[in-house]
């Protein structure tokens, strides 16, 4: 049970004694639940809520998916769309464990690690030789083929994985053209190679390649006329991460890591009412990263982790100024883990990032842990997080061909607007451009506390509380009106939000073959400028045709946040058999969908999506030493809300068979 985690401190630590609380989903759990994609797994965890905007993302501590850093074996994953890194991109078949660290970790990881870090650790080769293949069939003609092969020989070990997932998609609105959930085919190949060069030196190479094809017919009605477009999207991403580990002596190591990654999409929209319209858009993002880390134990009370790195990022897209833009980040971080007494640990860390566009960013964090006995742990931390502006926010240069509005990045806003004025396309300038500044990183100050204790040998209790103050959130604002009446938008650092909440979790093992865990989160979110506006009497609502001034109690906070979420996971042996059954439920209370009454904030009942609970069931049946069968239900109670939750298809049934060499 003493799992070793690496994400919270960028160094190995026993889970029970890691100074920053870490949640682990193990390979056994992943296997038993029979999840297909990373998103399916995370959706069942307490305090983690999926959100669907340009992909499936995860909401941590009430913050949007853009604020959670996703790593694979410690290296960042790229390819965000509108801030969301689509978690449906990742198969779970090659995952050994997932580590989730909530709260800011920018003091170690830099940008994006504001709400938390999710690190996917891939499977290590363990056997001299092992081959595994599997097939799963599921509703909507969904097929998943998986295969892996691993081996080790003396100083070398290797593993390769292949995964293909394809689906016909589903349709919740048969009366309109196209599918609600489009069909797709995605292939993932990954592998790693480990070499022990000598007793002090070892090397590793991780590689991954994934490709996805998606096609759909988009149809929408406008004023009684139906438009149809054929949409096709191709997504490719690959990464290569060689690394070298030098153990100078026990308690002193150097790690050199290189990471090269590229993410590319090409989407084509063709059709329209006369079939003549065509729009091709491409996006290509690449990073190259080099990092050196030193881990040093000094005496018995201090562990030092020091690192420095550089990263170059290039984006090539039709919608940005100059089509190709690049920037560089260089950083230095330092962490001190003080084991002060038997009962008290202190961890301090700070990271300095220098970025070619926005200059210096300093991210400190301090955390403590009080220990009593083997199981009582009280942890607390204060830290800062930040998120760098995206390429779109800095360099976007896009005019919607249909509606005619324009969006321009803040770094080039003055130049681009001057050009528009010169060419006579601007009627009025709204913003004072002399005061207009390039957007800077969004940043946060966060407080986290948590407690853990074993109540007897079979019961574990966990609680935590958090509060995040995030400022300088980047928003789009109109800066000018064009002669065609449409607006020109750009990006500014504008709003301030607060998210705070309480989590509680109980894990119980009533008998050896049964496990029950129950989690709950109470979440409160708010936009501080809206609160000020309400206090000033600037916000109005409308009920039964009459306007009224809103009070604080009318305000429902940020859109897309459930005040109450809960999760239940039950796993038990089916008596008299060798099979086990897993039942998982995830509850969400109502959450804001979108403004309906023109004041742009969440205040009226019709602006909410009804609360609901989703249930998944899996039955595992080992057939012999080398085969394993699974059957199950996804969304077992068939909850559907076609208008407000199009990402949710109805109930799905699956059966899977896995065969491996003994």
């Amino acid at each position: 049970m003493d799992a070793v985690v690496v994400t919270a401190t960028r160094s190995p630590s026993v889970l029970r004694d890691v100074p920053i609380p870490t949640r682990v989903i193990s390979a056994e759990q992943i296997q038993a639940r029979a999840a297909l994609r990373l998103s399916d797994l995370l959706a069942e965890e307490p305090g983690m809520v999926l959100s669907h905007f340009l992909g499936t993302g995860i909401q941590l501590q009430g913050l949007d998916p853009a604020y959670t850093l996703i790593l694979i074996d410690g290296e960042p994953v790229i390819g965000r769309s509108g801030g969301t890194l689509d978690l449906d991109r990742f198969t779970v078949m090659d995952i050994a464990s997932i580590e989730i660290v909530q709260g800011p970790s920018s003091s170690l990881y830099g940008s994006e690690a504001l709400a938390g870090v999710i690190n996917i650790r891939t499977r290590q080769p363990e056997e001299p030789f092992r081959l595994q293949i599997g097939l799963r069939r599921q509703t909507h003609n969904t097929d998943n083929w998986v295969g892996s092969i691993e081996g080790s020989q003396g100083r070398y070990a290797w593993r390769m994985n292949a995964d293909r997932l394809q689906s016909d998609g589903y349709d919740l609105h048969p009366e309109t053209p196209g599918l609600t959930g489009p069909g797709y085919a995605t292939n993932t190949f990954s592998g790693r190679f480990d070499a022990t060069i000598n007793s002090k030196l070892s090397a590793r190479v991780n590689a991954r390649f994934a490709t996805e094809d998606q096609r759909n017919v988009l149809g929408f009605q406008q004023e009684g006329f139906v438009f149809t477009f054929e949409e096709s999207e191709q997504r490719d991403d690959w990464s290569l991460s060689p690394s070298l580990l030098w153990r100078v002596r026990s308690g002193h190591t150097w790690t050199l890591r290189n990471h090269i990654s590229d993410y590319r999409t090409e989407s084509l929209l063709a059709g329209g009412i006369d079939g003549r319209e065509q729009e091709l858009s491409t996006f290509d993002q690449g990073i190259r990263k080099l990092e050196l880390q030193n881990d040093l134990i000094l005496g018995t009370t201090l562990l030092l982790n020091t690192g420095a790195g550089i990263q170059r990022e290039v984006v090539d897209a039709g919608r940005i100024t100059g089509e190709t833009r690049s920037n560089r980040t260089a950083w230095l971080f330092s962490q001190q883990q003080f084991f002060l007494t038997e009962a008290f640990d202190l961890t301090t860390s700070v990271r300095f990032d220098h970025h070619t566009d926005y200059g210096w960013q300093v991210s400190p964090k301090v955390g403590f842990m009080i220990k009593s006995g083997k199981s009582v742990r009280l942890r607390g931390s204060v830290g800062t997080g930040f998120k760098a502006p995206t390429f779109q926010q800095l360099y976007m240069d896009y005019t919607n061909p249909v509606a005619g509005y324009s969006v321009i990045g803040s770094a080039d806003a003055s130049n681009l607007l001057a050009k528009l004025i010169e060419s006579g396309r601007i009627r009025t300038v709204i913003t004072d451009l002399t005061a207009f500044e390039t957007v800077t990183p969004e940043s946060s100050v966060s407080f986290n506390v948590s407690g853990d204790t074993d109540v007897g040998p079979a019961l574990h209790v966990h609680f935590s509380a958090f509060r995040n103050h995030v400022r300088d959130l980047v928003e789009t604002l109109p800066i000018a009106i064009k002669t065609n009446g449409q607006q020109v938008f750009s990006y500014v650092n504008l709003s301030r939000i607060v998210t705070q909440g309480i989590n509680a979790e109980v894990r119980w093992r009533p008998i050896q073959t049964s496990r029950i865990s129950l989690g709950y989160q109470l979440l409160d979110t708010r936009d501080l400028d809206v609160i000020d506006g309400i206090d000033n009497g600037d916000y109005f609502g409308r009920k039964n045709g009459r306007d009224f001034r809103l009070s604080r109690s009318d305000y429902g906070g940020l859109f897309g946040r459930s005040r109450h979420t809960a999760s239940l996971q039950v796993s038990t042996n089916i008596p008299g058999t060798s099979a086990d059954i897993q039942i998982r439920g995830a509850l969400k209370s109502r959450y804001g969908f979108g403004d309906q009454n023109g004041n742009l904030i969440l205040d009226a009942d019709q602006e909410y999506v009804d609360g609901h609970t989703l249930w998944n069931v899996t039955v595992n049946q080992p057939l012999s030493g080398f085969a394993h069968m699974q059957i199950g239900l996804v969304n077992a109670l068939d909850h559907v809300n076609a208008d407000q939750i199009p990402s949710l298809s109805g109930r799905q049934v699956f059966a899977a068979l896995t065969i491996n060499t003994p």
Binding site: Q222, F225, I273, R276, T428, Y539, F540, R546, D547, N597
Partner: protein, 199 residues
Amino acid sequence: MILALALFVSACDSSSPNDDPQEVVAARAVDIPSDPIIGLGSDGRPVGANAFSFFSLRTGQIVASADSASTGWDLGFKGSTIIVNGGTSGPGNGAAQIVEGIFSDVMEAPENGWVQDSADVQAIPTGSGNGWYNYNFATQVLSPIPGRVIMVRTADGRYAKVSMISYYQGAPSTPSADNTSRFVTFDYVFQPDGSRNLQ
């Protein structure tokens, strides 16, 4: 002051108009066509006739477009654009301004701050968030902003206040993109005696 309320269920309904009210009119104008979609343009997209509906606050009636060059109308509607009969939009003395507040609490038209339509500025600004509506790109729904009252000076210099209710036919309480747009419904109070009193 005791006021007679002439409450019209529909301004399009010609059965009960009062062509020359002497006292304050408080009424709702229902489903005034605001250049509704009539077909497809050369680019295959829906278009209207590109024509304003002209509305008289005095009579509560739509004025024939043949009379658009007269002072017989006060507000013109085309899509989400509203014009006043003044400045570059008409021969009258019309002007407007938007104030924040609750419709029924606005007792008096302001003395100053009146804006006429011109080449540079609309008396009732267009664009999401600028004037009387917000447009939600995600739901493609245009919603009137609660708490915004359009103060109107009519073509003949009388005063009125207007509260926009809906942009969709039948004024559904939670409109969607499937509703037929470009039919405006609004409440208004018109003071015929020339004073700024809108009680």
